[in-house]
Protein backbone atom coordinates (compact mmCIF):
# COMPACT_ATOMS: atom_id res chain seq x y z
CA UNK A 1 0.00 0.00 0.00
CA UNK A 2 1.41 3.34 -1.06
CA UNK A 3 0.84 6.04 1.46
CA UNK A 4 1.42 9.55 0.20
CA UNK A 5 2.68 12.26 2.50
CA UNK A 6 -0.70 14.00 2.27
CA UNK A 7 -2.58 10.86 3.32
CA UNK A 8 -0.14 10.27 6.11
CA UNK A 9 -0.70 13.76 7.48
CA UNK A 10 -4.45 13.29 7.34
CA UNK A 11 -4.38 9.86 8.98
CA UNK A 12 -1.94 10.72 11.77
CA UNK A 13 -4.37 12.72 13.93
CA UNK A 14 -7.07 10.10 13.44
CA UNK A 15 -4.64 7.36 14.45
CA UNK A 16 -3.58 9.40 17.48
CA UNK A 17 -7.20 9.82 18.59
CA UNK A 18 -7.85 6.10 18.06
CA UNK A 19 -4.73 5.16 20.06
CA UNK A 20 -5.69 7.53 22.86
CA UNK A 21 -9.10 5.89 22.96
CA UNK A 22 -7.48 2.45 23.17
CA UNK A 23 -5.25 3.59 26.02
CA UNK A 24 -8.17 5.14 27.88
CA UNK A 25 -9.98 1.81 27.88
CA UNK A 26 -13.74 1.44 27.75
CA UNK A 27 -15.48 4.76 28.22
CA UNK A 28 -17.59 4.95 31.36
CA UNK A 29 -20.50 6.52 29.57
CA UNK A 30 -21.99 6.44 26.12
CA UNK A 31 -21.02 9.33 23.91
CA UNK A 32 -24.61 10.48 23.67
CA UNK A 33 -25.16 10.40 27.46
CA UNK A 34 -25.82 13.90 28.73
CA UNK A 35 -25.25 13.97 32.44
CA UNK A 36 -27.31 17.12 33.00
CA UNK A 37 -30.41 15.58 31.44
CA UNK A 38 -30.88 12.91 34.12
CA UNK A 39 -31.78 12.74 37.80
CA UNK A 40 -31.75 9.12 38.84
CA UNK A 41 -33.72 7.40 41.55
CA UNK A 42 -35.37 4.07 42.25
CA UNK A 43 -38.97 3.04 42.67
CA UNK A 44 -39.52 0.09 44.98
CA UNK A 45 -42.98 -1.39 44.84
CA UNK A 46 -43.31 -3.32 48.10
CA UNK A 47 -46.52 -5.26 47.24
CA UNK A 48 -44.73 -6.67 44.18
CA UNK A 49 -41.66 -7.97 46.03
CA UNK A 50 -41.71 -11.74 46.58
CA UNK A 51 -38.41 -11.96 48.47
CA UNK A 52 -36.73 -14.22 45.90
CA UNK A 53 -33.32 -12.59 46.40
CA UNK A 54 -32.65 -12.30 42.66
CA UNK A 55 -31.76 -8.64 43.06
CA UNK A 56 -29.19 -9.38 45.79
CA UNK A 57 -27.54 -12.14 43.75
CA UNK A 58 -27.53 -10.04 40.58
CA UNK A 59 -25.98 -7.11 42.42
CA UNK A 60 -23.28 -9.27 43.97
CA UNK A 61 -22.44 -10.83 40.60
CA UNK A 62 -22.47 -7.53 38.71
CA UNK A 63 -20.49 -5.51 41.24
CA UNK A 64 -18.25 -8.13 42.80
CA UNK A 65 -19.65 -7.46 46.25
CA UNK A 66 -17.66 -9.32 48.96
CA UNK A 67 -19.35 -12.07 50.96
CA UNK A 68 -21.10 -10.85 54.07
CA UNK A 69 -21.54 -7.30 52.74
CA UNK A 70 -24.44 -5.91 50.77
CA UNK A 71 -25.01 -3.12 48.29
CA UNK A 72 -28.64 -4.19 48.32
CA UNK A 73 -30.53 -6.59 50.55
CA UNK A 74 -34.09 -7.68 51.27
CA UNK A 75 -35.75 -7.67 54.69
CA UNK A 76 -38.86 -9.62 55.64
CA UNK A 77 -41.15 -7.89 58.10
CA UNK A 78 -43.65 -9.70 60.28
CA UNK A 79 -45.97 -7.20 61.92
CA UNK A 80 -48.58 -8.35 64.41
CA UNK A 81 -51.79 -6.40 64.84
CA UNK A 82 -51.23 -5.49 68.46
CA UNK A 83 -47.50 -4.87 68.21
CA UNK A 84 -47.05 -2.64 65.22
CA UNK A 85 -44.11 -0.72 66.62
CA UNK A 86 -42.12 -3.85 67.29
CA UNK A 87 -41.92 -5.78 64.02
CA UNK A 88 -40.04 -9.06 63.69
CA UNK A 89 -37.49 -8.55 60.92
CA UNK A 90 -35.15 -11.03 59.31
CA UNK A 91 -32.73 -10.84 56.43
CA UNK A 92 -30.72 -14.09 56.39
CA UNK A 93 -27.59 -13.43 54.33
CA UNK A 94 -29.25 -10.28 53.03
CA UNK A 95 -32.14 -12.35 51.65
CA UNK A 96 -29.77 -13.61 48.93
CA UNK A 97 -31.13 -17.13 49.02
CA UNK A 98 -34.69 -16.19 49.80
CA UNK A 99 -36.48 -16.59 53.13
CA UNK A 100 -37.72 -19.42 55.34
CA UNK A 101 -41.38 -20.31 55.28
CA UNK A 102 -43.39 -18.12 57.60
CA UNK A 103 -44.44 -20.08 60.68
CA UNK A 104 -47.00 -17.80 62.25
CA UNK A 105 -50.32 -16.88 60.74
CA UNK A 106 -51.01 -13.88 62.92
CA UNK A 107 -50.21 -10.45 61.52
CA UNK A 108 -48.85 -9.57 58.12
CA UNK A 109 -45.69 -10.44 56.25
CA UNK A 110 -44.04 -8.37 53.56
CA UNK A 111 -40.63 -7.88 51.96
CA UNK A 112 -38.69 -4.64 51.86
CA UNK A 113 -35.75 -4.35 49.45
CA UNK A 114 -33.13 -1.91 50.71
CA UNK A 115 -30.30 -0.11 48.96
CA UNK A 116 -28.52 3.22 48.94
CA UNK A 117 -31.17 5.93 48.74
CA UNK A 118 -28.92 8.16 46.60
CA UNK A 119 -29.91 11.10 48.75
CA UNK A 120 -29.63 14.54 47.24
CA UNK A 121 -28.65 15.92 50.67
CA UNK A 122 -26.67 12.88 51.63
CA UNK A 123 -25.11 12.84 55.10
CA UNK A 124 -22.39 10.49 53.89
CA UNK A 125 -21.23 13.01 51.32
CA UNK A 126 -21.39 15.80 53.86
CA UNK A 127 -19.04 14.12 56.33
CA UNK A 128 -16.40 12.68 53.97
CA UNK A 129 -13.19 14.47 55.00
CA UNK A 130 -11.67 14.51 51.52
CA UNK A 131 -14.71 14.53 49.26
CA UNK A 132 -14.06 10.98 48.06
CA UNK A 133 -17.78 10.35 48.16
CA UNK A 134 -19.86 12.72 46.09
CA UNK A 135 -23.17 13.25 44.33
CA UNK A 136 -22.90 13.20 40.55
CA UNK A 137 -24.74 15.87 38.54
CA UNK A 138 -27.25 13.18 37.57
CA UNK A 139 -28.03 12.41 41.21
CA UNK A 140 -26.03 9.28 42.02
CA UNK A 141 -23.94 9.04 45.20
CA UNK A 142 -20.58 7.47 44.33
CA UNK A 143 -17.28 6.71 46.05
CA UNK A 144 -13.90 7.32 44.45
CA UNK A 145 -11.98 4.26 45.64
CA UNK A 146 -8.65 5.82 44.68
CA UNK A 147 -9.24 8.75 46.99
CA UNK A 148 -11.11 7.29 49.95
CA UNK A 149 -9.12 7.17 53.20
CA UNK A 150 -11.21 4.34 54.66
CA UNK A 151 -12.03 6.34 57.81
CA UNK A 152 -15.62 4.96 57.89
CA UNK A 153 -17.13 8.28 58.92
CA UNK A 154 -19.56 7.97 55.99
CA UNK A 155 -20.59 4.52 57.22
CA UNK A 156 -21.47 6.06 60.58
CA UNK A 157 -23.34 8.92 58.93
CA UNK A 158 -25.61 6.82 56.69
CA UNK A 159 -28.96 6.42 58.48
CA UNK A 160 -29.89 3.43 56.34
CA UNK A 161 -26.90 1.13 56.92
CA UNK A 162 -26.08 1.06 53.21
CA UNK A 163 -22.33 1.49 53.41
CA UNK A 164 -19.46 -0.73 54.50
CA UNK A 165 -15.69 -0.77 54.36
CA UNK A 166 -14.63 -3.18 51.63
CA UNK A 167 -12.62 -5.89 53.41
CA UNK A 168 -9.98 -6.13 50.66
CA UNK A 169 -9.89 -2.64 49.19
CA UNK A 170 -10.15 -0.96 52.63
CA UNK A 171 -12.31 1.82 51.22
CA UNK A 172 -15.98 2.70 51.59
CA UNK A 173 -18.24 0.78 49.25
CA UNK A 174 -21.93 1.01 48.45
CA UNK A 175 -24.56 0.79 45.71
CA UNK A 176 -23.45 2.78 42.67
CA UNK A 177 -26.86 2.45 41.05
CA UNK A 178 -24.90 0.46 38.45
CA UNK A 179 -23.56 3.76 37.16
CA UNK A 180 -21.46 1.90 34.60
CA UNK A 181 -24.70 0.51 33.15
CA UNK A 182 -27.18 3.36 33.45
CA UNK A 183 -24.89 5.80 31.66
CA UNK A 184 -24.97 3.41 28.71
CA UNK A 185 -28.73 3.34 28.56
CA UNK A 186 -29.09 0.11 30.52
CA UNK A 187 -30.98 -0.42 33.75
CA UNK A 188 -29.42 -1.61 37.02
CA UNK A 189 -28.58 -5.26 37.59
CA UNK A 190 -31.15 -5.54 40.40
CA UNK A 191 -33.93 -4.03 38.30
CA UNK A 192 -33.08 -6.17 35.30
CA UNK A 193 -33.25 -9.35 37.36
CA UNK A 194 -36.36 -8.57 39.39
CA UNK A 195 -39.01 -11.04 38.12
CA UNK A 196 -41.97 -8.94 39.26
CA UNK A 197 -40.83 -5.43 38.43
CA UNK A 198 -40.75 -4.52 42.11
CA UNK A 199 -37.67 -2.39 41.46
CA UNK A 200 -37.61 0.18 38.72
CA UNK A 201 -34.90 2.63 37.83
CA UNK A 202 -36.44 6.05 37.43
CA UNK A 203 -35.23 9.22 35.78
CA UNK A 204 -36.99 12.16 37.34
CA UNK A 205 -35.72 14.56 34.70
CA UNK A 206 -37.19 12.52 31.87
CA UNK A 207 -40.76 13.77 31.31
CA UNK A 208 -41.63 10.50 29.57
CA UNK A 209 -40.62 8.34 32.54
CA UNK A 210 -43.68 6.50 33.94
CA UNK A 211 -42.56 7.50 37.45
CA UNK A 212 -44.34 10.83 37.07
CA UNK A 213 -47.69 9.15 36.50
CA UNK A 214 -46.94 6.65 39.26
CA UNK A 215 -46.14 9.37 41.79
CA UNK A 216 -49.39 11.16 40.91
CA UNK A 217 -51.54 8.11 41.45
CA UNK A 218 -49.87 6.30 44.35
CA UNK A 219 -49.05 6.98 47.95
CA UNK A 220 -45.27 6.91 47.87
CA UNK A 221 -42.90 7.39 50.78
CA UNK A 222 -39.15 7.39 51.46
CA UNK A 223 -37.40 5.64 54.36
CA UNK A 224 -36.87 7.70 57.51
CA UNK A 225 -38.27 10.95 56.09
CA UNK A 226 -37.45 12.69 59.38
CA UNK A 227 -33.77 12.44 58.44
CA UNK A 228 -34.38 14.94 55.62
CA UNK A 229 -31.71 13.44 53.41
CA UNK A 230 -33.53 13.95 50.11
CA UNK A 231 -33.72 10.17 49.63
CA UNK A 232 -34.52 9.08 46.09
CA UNK A 233 -35.49 5.47 46.74
CA UNK A 234 -39.26 5.83 46.57
CA UNK A 235 -41.31 3.13 48.25
CA UNK A 236 -44.84 2.30 47.21
CA UNK A 237 -46.95 0.68 49.92
CA UNK A 238 -44.42 1.37 52.69
CA UNK A 239 -45.74 0.21 56.05
CA UNK A 240 -45.29 2.52 59.02
CA UNK A 241 -43.38 -0.18 60.90
CA UNK A 242 -40.50 -0.20 58.40
CA UNK A 243 -37.28 1.31 59.67
Amino acid sequence: MNLSRRHFLVLMPAAAIAWKSVLAGTPEQASNYKISEHWWGMLIDIPKCIGCGNCVRACQAENDVPDGYFRTWVERYHVEDENMTNPQVISPDGGKEGFPIATEDAGKYFFVPKMCNHCSDSPCTQVCPVGATFVTPDGVVLVDPKYCLGCAYCVQACPYGCRYIHPDKKVADKCSLCYHRITKGLTTACCENCPTGARQLVDLKNPKDPIHEFLKTHSVQVLKPQMATGAKAYYNGLDGSVR
Binding site: V89, A152, P159, C162, R163
Partner: protein, 407 residues
Protein backbone atom coordinates in the same frame (compact mmCIF):
# COMPACT_ATOMS: atom_id res chain seq x y z
CA UNK B 1 -36.70 -27.87 54.17
CA UNK B 2 -33.87 -25.99 52.59
CA UNK B 3 -35.27 -22.77 53.97
CA UNK B 4 -35.58 -24.30 57.43
CA UNK B 5 -31.97 -25.40 57.31
CA UNK B 6 -31.01 -21.98 56.09
CA UNK B 7 -32.72 -20.27 58.97
CA UNK B 8 -31.26 -22.73 61.48
CA UNK B 9 -27.84 -22.11 60.01
CA UNK B 10 -28.60 -18.42 59.85
CA UNK B 11 -29.59 -18.36 63.51
CA UNK B 12 -26.36 -20.15 64.46
CA UNK B 13 -24.36 -17.62 62.52
CA UNK B 14 -26.23 -14.83 64.21
CA UNK B 15 -25.58 -16.21 67.66
CA UNK B 16 -21.92 -16.66 66.76
CA UNK B 17 -21.76 -13.10 65.50
CA UNK B 18 -23.16 -11.86 68.77
CA UNK B 19 -26.24 -10.33 67.17
CA UNK B 20 -29.54 -10.06 69.02
CA UNK B 21 -32.67 -9.05 67.14
CA UNK B 22 -32.24 -7.47 63.73
CA UNK B 23 -29.27 -5.48 62.48
CA UNK B 24 -28.97 -4.11 58.96
CA UNK B 25 -26.59 -6.64 57.36
CA UNK B 26 -23.75 -4.13 56.98
CA UNK B 27 -23.96 -3.06 60.62
CA UNK B 28 -22.88 -6.29 62.29
CA UNK B 29 -19.17 -5.50 62.47
CA UNK B 30 -18.18 -2.30 64.27
CA UNK B 31 -16.46 0.31 62.12
CA UNK B 32 -14.74 2.23 64.90
CA UNK B 33 -12.62 0.26 67.32
CA UNK B 34 -10.89 0.83 70.64
CA UNK B 35 -8.39 3.07 68.83
CA UNK B 36 -11.16 5.57 68.17
CA UNK B 37 -11.96 5.37 71.89
CA UNK B 38 -8.36 6.29 72.62
CA UNK B 39 -8.38 9.28 70.30
CA UNK B 40 -10.89 11.44 72.23
CA UNK B 41 -9.41 10.20 75.50
CA UNK B 42 -5.94 11.37 74.51
CA UNK B 43 -7.03 14.71 73.03
CA UNK B 44 -9.12 15.24 76.15
CA UNK B 45 -6.03 14.84 78.31
CA UNK B 46 -4.22 17.36 76.10
CA UNK B 47 -6.98 19.95 76.33
CA UNK B 48 -7.49 19.42 80.06
CA UNK B 49 -3.78 19.59 80.88
CA UNK B 50 -3.41 22.79 78.89
CA UNK B 51 -6.39 24.42 80.59
CA UNK B 52 -4.88 23.54 83.98
CA UNK B 53 -1.64 25.18 82.90
CA UNK B 54 -3.50 28.26 81.74
CA UNK B 55 -5.03 28.68 85.21
CA UNK B 56 -1.61 29.67 86.46
CA UNK B 57 -0.54 31.69 83.43
CA UNK B 58 -3.69 33.64 82.67
CA UNK B 59 -5.70 33.52 85.86
CA UNK B 60 -2.69 33.73 88.18
CA UNK B 61 -3.61 30.77 90.37
CA UNK B 62 -0.22 30.74 92.09
CA UNK B 63 -0.91 27.60 94.11
CA UNK B 64 -0.74 25.34 91.07
CA UNK B 65 2.52 26.80 89.76
CA UNK B 66 4.52 23.60 90.52
CA UNK B 67 2.47 21.81 87.89
CA UNK B 68 2.56 24.50 85.19
CA UNK B 69 5.46 23.22 83.12
CA UNK B 70 4.64 19.60 83.81
CA UNK B 71 1.11 20.20 82.52
CA UNK B 72 2.45 21.73 79.30
CA UNK B 73 4.87 18.84 78.74
CA UNK B 74 2.09 16.35 79.51
CA UNK B 75 -0.15 18.04 76.97
CA UNK B 76 2.61 17.90 74.36
CA UNK B 77 3.39 14.23 75.04
CA UNK B 78 -0.21 13.22 74.55
CA UNK B 79 -0.71 15.52 71.56
CA UNK B 80 2.21 13.90 69.75
CA UNK B 81 0.49 10.52 70.14
CA UNK B 82 -3.05 11.76 69.37
CA UNK B 83 -2.99 11.18 65.57
CA UNK B 84 -1.48 7.69 65.85
CA UNK B 85 -4.71 5.81 66.70
CA UNK B 86 -6.41 7.58 63.80
CA UNK B 87 -3.62 6.68 61.40
CA UNK B 88 -3.68 3.06 62.52
CA UNK B 89 -7.44 2.94 62.05
CA UNK B 90 -7.52 4.30 58.49
CA UNK B 91 -7.92 1.84 55.64
CA UNK B 92 -5.44 3.93 53.65
CA UNK B 93 -3.25 5.89 56.06
CA UNK B 94 -0.96 6.88 53.19
CA UNK B 95 -3.79 9.03 51.85
CA UNK B 96 -4.32 10.97 55.08
CA UNK B 97 -2.30 14.03 53.85
CA UNK B 98 -5.20 14.57 51.45
CA UNK B 99 -7.05 15.99 54.44
CA UNK B 100 -4.55 18.85 54.41
CA UNK B 101 -4.34 19.28 50.65
CA UNK B 102 -7.95 18.74 49.61
CA UNK B 103 -10.14 19.08 52.71
CA UNK B 104 -13.85 18.75 52.18
CA UNK B 105 -15.36 21.96 53.47
CA UNK B 106 -18.57 20.39 54.81
CA UNK B 107 -16.83 17.67 56.80
CA UNK B 108 -16.15 18.16 60.50
CA UNK B 109 -13.42 15.55 60.29
CA UNK B 110 -11.60 17.44 57.53
CA UNK B 111 -10.75 20.15 60.03
CA UNK B 112 -8.74 17.71 62.13
CA UNK B 113 -5.43 18.35 60.43
CA UNK B 114 -5.71 22.10 60.76
CA UNK B 115 -7.00 22.11 64.32
CA UNK B 116 -4.27 19.68 65.29
CA UNK B 117 -1.46 21.60 63.58
CA UNK B 118 -2.69 24.91 64.95
CA UNK B 119 -2.82 23.56 68.46
CA UNK B 120 0.49 21.70 68.23
CA UNK B 121 2.61 24.35 66.55
CA UNK B 122 0.94 27.71 67.14
CA UNK B 123 -0.10 27.09 70.72
CA UNK B 124 1.60 24.31 72.59
CA UNK B 125 5.08 24.12 71.08
CA UNK B 126 5.27 27.90 70.86
CA UNK B 127 4.23 28.37 74.47
CA UNK B 128 6.64 25.73 75.72
CA UNK B 129 9.44 27.26 73.68
CA UNK B 130 8.74 30.75 75.04
CA UNK B 131 8.57 29.48 78.58
CA UNK B 132 11.73 27.39 78.29
CA UNK B 133 13.77 29.71 76.05
CA UNK B 134 15.91 31.04 78.90
CA UNK B 135 16.55 27.52 80.18
CA UNK B 136 17.34 26.25 76.69
CA UNK B 137 19.90 29.02 76.15
CA UNK B 138 21.50 28.31 79.53
CA UNK B 139 21.51 24.57 78.84
CA UNK B 140 23.09 25.14 75.42
CA UNK B 141 25.92 26.89 77.22
CA UNK B 142 26.38 24.43 80.07
CA UNK B 143 26.03 21.07 78.28
CA UNK B 144 28.48 19.33 76.02
CA UNK B 145 28.55 17.23 72.89
CA UNK B 146 25.43 16.30 70.96
CA UNK B 147 23.14 17.63 73.65
CA UNK B 148 24.71 21.05 73.33
CA UNK B 149 23.95 21.08 69.61
CA UNK B 150 20.41 19.93 70.26
CA UNK B 151 19.81 22.77 72.71
CA UNK B 152 21.48 25.21 70.32
CA UNK B 153 19.07 24.05 67.62
CA UNK B 154 16.16 24.45 70.02
CA UNK B 155 17.07 28.08 70.68
CA UNK B 156 16.29 28.73 66.99
CA UNK B 157 19.08 31.26 67.04
CA UNK B 158 17.35 33.36 69.67
CA UNK B 159 19.89 33.40 72.49
CA UNK B 160 19.22 36.84 73.96
CA UNK B 161 18.17 36.31 77.55
CA UNK B 162 18.36 39.86 78.75
CA UNK B 163 15.64 40.91 81.22
CA UNK B 164 13.96 42.93 78.48
CA UNK B 165 13.97 39.96 76.12
CA UNK B 166 12.58 37.65 78.79
CA UNK B 167 9.90 40.20 79.57
CA UNK B 168 8.82 40.07 75.93
CA UNK B 169 8.78 36.26 76.13
CA UNK B 170 6.52 36.54 79.15
CA UNK B 171 4.12 38.92 77.44
CA UNK B 172 3.94 36.90 74.22
CA UNK B 173 3.54 33.70 76.24
CA UNK B 174 0.60 35.22 78.06
CA UNK B 175 -1.06 36.08 74.73
CA UNK B 176 -0.36 32.58 73.39
CA UNK B 177 -1.96 31.04 76.49
CA UNK B 178 -4.92 33.35 76.09
CA UNK B 179 -5.32 32.14 72.50
CA UNK B 180 -4.61 28.62 73.69
CA UNK B 181 -7.66 28.40 75.95
CA UNK B 182 -10.24 28.72 73.14
CA UNK B 183 -7.93 26.58 70.99
CA UNK B 184 -8.04 23.83 73.61
CA UNK B 185 -11.81 24.14 73.64
CA UNK B 186 -11.77 24.00 69.85
CA UNK B 187 -9.52 20.92 69.81
CA UNK B 188 -11.76 18.88 72.01
CA UNK B 189 -15.09 20.53 71.28
CA UNK B 190 -14.51 19.66 67.67
CA UNK B 191 -13.96 16.00 68.61
CA UNK B 192 -17.33 16.10 70.37
CA UNK B 193 -18.86 17.71 67.30
CA UNK B 194 -17.63 14.82 65.12
CA UNK B 195 -19.94 12.57 67.12
CA UNK B 196 -22.66 15.06 68.05
CA UNK B 197 -23.34 16.06 64.46
CA UNK B 198 -24.20 12.57 63.22
CA UNK B 199 -27.98 12.74 62.94
CA UNK B 200 -28.17 9.09 61.90
CA UNK B 201 -27.05 8.02 65.36
CA UNK B 202 -29.33 9.09 68.24
CA UNK B 203 -26.78 7.97 70.85
CA UNK B 204 -24.36 10.57 69.49
CA UNK B 205 -26.57 13.22 67.98
CA UNK B 206 -26.75 15.96 70.59
CA UNK B 207 -25.71 19.61 70.66
CA UNK B 208 -24.50 18.95 74.21
CA UNK B 209 -21.89 16.50 72.99
CA UNK B 210 -19.10 19.05 72.31
CA UNK B 211 -19.73 20.74 75.67
CA UNK B 212 -19.75 17.43 77.53
CA UNK B 213 -16.54 16.48 75.73
CA UNK B 214 -14.85 19.73 76.75
CA UNK B 215 -15.73 19.41 80.44
CA UNK B 216 -14.92 15.72 80.57
CA UNK B 217 -11.61 16.59 78.90
CA UNK B 218 -10.89 19.08 81.63
CA UNK B 219 -11.70 16.46 84.27
CA UNK B 220 -9.36 13.89 82.74
CA UNK B 221 -6.59 16.43 82.04
CA UNK B 222 -6.67 17.92 85.51
CA UNK B 223 -6.83 14.50 87.17
CA UNK B 224 -4.06 13.25 84.88
CA UNK B 225 -1.68 16.10 85.64
CA UNK B 226 -2.44 15.83 89.37
CA UNK B 227 -1.59 12.13 89.35
CA UNK B 228 1.53 12.61 87.23
CA UNK B 229 2.72 15.45 89.50
CA UNK B 230 2.21 13.34 92.62
CA UNK B 231 3.87 10.28 91.08
CA UNK B 232 6.85 12.21 89.67
CA UNK B 233 7.38 14.12 92.92
CA UNK B 234 7.31 10.86 94.82
CA UNK B 235 9.82 9.34 92.39
CA UNK B 236 12.07 12.38 92.86
CA UNK B 237 11.79 11.88 96.63
CA UNK B 238 10.60 15.43 96.97
CA UNK B 239 7.77 16.60 99.23
CA UNK B 240 4.42 16.96 97.48
CA UNK B 241 3.20 20.55 97.62
CA UNK B 242 -0.09 19.91 99.39
CA UNK B 243 -1.31 23.46 98.76
CA UNK B 244 -0.89 22.82 95.04
CA UNK B 245 -2.64 19.45 95.15
CA UNK B 246 -5.45 20.88 97.28
CA UNK B 247 -6.02 23.59 94.67
CA UNK B 248 -5.97 21.15 91.78
CA UNK B 249 -8.42 18.89 93.62
CA UNK B 250 -10.70 21.86 94.23
CA UNK B 251 -10.76 22.72 90.51
CA UNK B 252 -11.21 19.05 89.65
CA UNK B 253 -14.21 18.91 91.97
CA UNK B 254 -15.88 21.99 90.46
CA UNK B 255 -15.29 20.96 86.86
CA UNK B 256 -16.43 17.43 87.67
CA UNK B 257 -19.72 18.78 89.04
CA UNK B 258 -20.32 20.74 85.82
CA UNK B 259 -19.40 17.69 83.73
CA UNK B 260 -21.68 15.40 85.70
CA UNK B 261 -24.53 17.92 85.58
CA UNK B 262 -24.24 18.18 81.81
CA UNK B 263 -24.23 14.42 81.39
CA UNK B 264 -27.24 14.10 83.67
CA UNK B 265 -29.00 16.86 81.74
CA UNK B 266 -28.44 14.90 78.56
CA UNK B 267 -29.69 11.73 80.22
CA UNK B 268 -32.78 13.33 81.76
CA UNK B 269 -33.60 14.98 78.45
CA UNK B 270 -33.41 11.65 76.65
CA UNK B 271 -35.49 9.85 79.24
CA UNK B 272 -38.15 12.56 79.41
CA UNK B 273 -38.35 13.07 75.66
CA UNK B 274 -38.33 9.30 75.02
CA UNK B 275 -38.23 9.56 71.23
CA UNK B 276 -38.34 6.60 68.85
CA UNK B 277 -34.80 5.53 69.69
CA UNK B 278 -35.29 5.61 73.45
CA UNK B 279 -36.56 2.08 73.96
CA UNK B 280 -33.65 0.65 72.01
CA UNK B 281 -31.02 2.78 73.77
CA UNK B 282 -32.58 2.16 77.18
CA UNK B 283 -32.44 -1.59 76.60
CA UNK B 284 -28.80 -1.31 75.54
CA UNK B 285 -27.85 0.67 78.65
CA UNK B 286 -29.51 -1.94 80.84
CA UNK B 287 -27.90 -4.91 79.09
CA UNK B 288 -24.77 -4.61 76.94
CA UNK B 289 -23.66 -1.27 78.35
CA UNK B 290 -24.70 -1.90 81.94
CA UNK B 291 -21.20 -2.61 83.25
CA UNK B 292 -19.26 0.02 81.25
CA UNK B 293 -21.92 2.73 81.54
CA UNK B 294 -23.82 2.35 84.81
CA UNK B 295 -21.21 0.58 86.91
CA UNK B 296 -17.87 1.87 85.61
CA UNK B 297 -18.68 5.30 84.18
CA UNK B 298 -21.40 6.57 86.50
CA UNK B 299 -21.01 4.75 89.84
CA UNK B 300 -17.29 4.02 89.92
CA UNK B 301 -15.91 6.73 87.66
CA UNK B 302 -18.12 9.69 88.51
CA UNK B 303 -20.19 9.40 91.68
CA UNK B 304 -17.44 7.79 93.78
CA UNK B 305 -14.70 10.33 92.97
CA UNK B 306 -17.20 13.15 93.36
CA UNK B 307 -18.11 11.88 96.83
CA UNK B 308 -14.42 11.53 97.74
CA UNK B 309 -13.60 15.01 96.48
CA UNK B 310 -16.62 16.54 98.21
CA UNK B 311 -15.52 15.00 101.50
CA UNK B 312 -12.11 16.62 101.12
CA UNK B 313 -13.82 19.94 100.48
CA UNK B 314 -16.08 19.92 103.53
CA UNK B 315 -14.19 17.87 106.13
CA UNK B 316 -10.79 18.79 107.53
CA UNK B 317 -8.70 15.69 107.00
CA UNK B 318 -5.04 14.98 107.70
CA UNK B 319 -2.69 15.67 104.80
CA UNK B 320 -1.85 12.02 104.25
CA UNK B 321 -5.51 11.02 104.05
CA UNK B 322 -6.27 13.83 101.63
CA UNK B 323 -3.44 12.74 99.36
CA UNK B 324 -4.73 9.19 99.29
CA UNK B 325 -8.23 10.38 98.57
CA UNK B 326 -6.98 12.60 95.75
CA UNK B 327 -5.06 9.73 94.21
CA UNK B 328 -8.09 7.43 94.46
CA UNK B 329 -10.45 10.08 93.10
CA UNK B 330 -8.02 10.96 90.30
CA UNK B 331 -7.56 7.34 89.22
CA UNK B 332 -11.30 6.70 89.32
CA UNK B 333 -11.98 9.89 87.36
CA UNK B 334 -9.56 8.72 84.65
CA UNK B 335 -11.29 5.33 84.53
CA UNK B 336 -14.67 7.07 84.38
CA UNK B 337 -13.67 9.37 81.53
CA UNK B 338 -12.16 6.48 79.57
CA UNK B 339 -15.40 4.56 80.14
CA UNK B 340 -17.33 7.61 78.92
CA UNK B 341 -15.31 7.64 75.66
CA UNK B 342 -15.81 3.89 75.36
CA UNK B 343 -19.55 4.17 75.87
CA UNK B 344 -19.84 6.96 73.33
CA UNK B 345 -17.73 5.35 70.60
CA UNK B 346 -18.43 1.65 71.10
CA UNK B 347 -21.91 2.07 72.61
CA UNK B 348 -22.97 4.16 69.63
CA UNK B 349 -22.30 1.24 67.34
CA UNK B 350 -23.79 -1.59 69.35
CA UNK B 351 -27.40 -0.91 68.40
CA UNK B 352 -28.94 -1.04 64.95
CA UNK B 353 -30.07 2.15 63.26
CA UNK B 354 -33.28 0.18 62.72
CA UNK B 355 -33.64 0.19 66.55
CA UNK B 356 -34.49 -3.50 66.30
CA UNK B 357 -31.30 -5.21 67.36
CA UNK B 358 -27.85 -5.20 68.92
CA UNK B 359 -24.42 -6.41 67.98
CA UNK B 360 -21.30 -7.16 70.03
CA UNK B 361 -17.85 -5.62 69.97
CA UNK B 362 -15.10 -8.20 69.99
CA UNK B 363 -11.75 -6.62 70.70
CA UNK B 364 -8.89 -8.51 69.12
CA UNK B 365 -5.57 -8.84 70.91
CA UNK B 366 -2.76 -8.50 68.40
CA UNK B 367 -4.34 -6.98 65.31
CA UNK B 368 -3.65 -3.47 64.06
CA UNK B 369 -6.66 -2.21 66.02
CA UNK B 370 -6.33 -4.68 68.88
CA UNK B 371 -5.98 -4.21 72.62
CA UNK B 372 -2.18 -4.62 72.62
CA UNK B 373 -1.75 -1.73 70.22
CA UNK B 374 -4.23 0.30 72.27
CA UNK B 375 -2.30 -0.43 75.45
CA UNK B 376 0.96 0.51 73.72
CA UNK B 377 -0.50 3.80 72.53
CA UNK B 378 -1.78 4.54 76.03
CA UNK B 379 1.67 4.08 77.55
CA UNK B 380 3.62 5.76 74.75
CA UNK B 381 2.83 9.36 75.91
CA UNK B 382 4.34 8.56 79.32
CA UNK B 383 7.62 7.56 77.67
CA UNK B 384 7.55 10.72 75.59
CA UNK B 385 6.88 12.71 78.74
CA UNK B 386 9.82 11.04 80.44
CA UNK B 387 12.07 12.03 77.52
CA UNK B 388 10.71 15.59 77.49
CA UNK B 389 11.23 15.95 81.23
CA UNK B 390 14.83 14.78 80.78
CA UNK B 391 15.35 17.28 77.97
CA UNK B 392 13.43 20.17 79.48
CA UNK B 393 13.37 19.77 83.25
CA UNK B 394 10.28 21.45 84.66
CA UNK B 395 11.87 22.03 88.06
CA UNK B 396 13.82 25.28 88.13
CA UNK B 397 15.77 24.54 91.27
CA UNK B 398 17.28 21.41 89.78
CA UNK B 399 18.04 22.36 86.23
CA UNK B 400 19.82 25.51 87.39
CA UNK B 401 22.39 23.36 89.17
CA UNK B 402 22.34 20.20 87.10
CA UNK B 403 20.85 21.03 83.73
CA UNK B 404 20.06 17.61 82.22
CA UNK B 405 19.36 15.47 85.26
CA UNK B 406 15.69 16.26 85.20
CA UNK B 407 14.35 13.83 87.71
Amino acid sequence: MMYNLAIIFGEQVKVMNGVEGFMYPNEIGLQWSVLIVLYPFITGLVAGAFILASLERVFHVEAIKPTYRLALLTALSFLIVAPLPLQLHLGHPERSPEMYFTPHSTSAMAMFGYVYLWYLMAVLVFEIWLDYRRDIVLLSQSTKGLLRWLYKLMTLGSDNISPRSLHIDEKVGWVVTLIGIPSAFLLHGYVGFIFGSIKANPWWSSPLMPVVFIFSAMVSGIAGVMLIYMAVTKLRRQPIDIRCVDSIAKYLFYIFIIDFSLEMLDLIHRVYEADESFRSLDFMVHTKLYIPHIVIQIILGTVTPLVLLSITQVVKLPEQVRKRMYVTAGCLAMVGIFAMRWNVVIGGQLFSKSFLGYTTYKMALVTREGSLVAAGLSILPLFILWALVKLLPPWPSEHAVQPVAGD
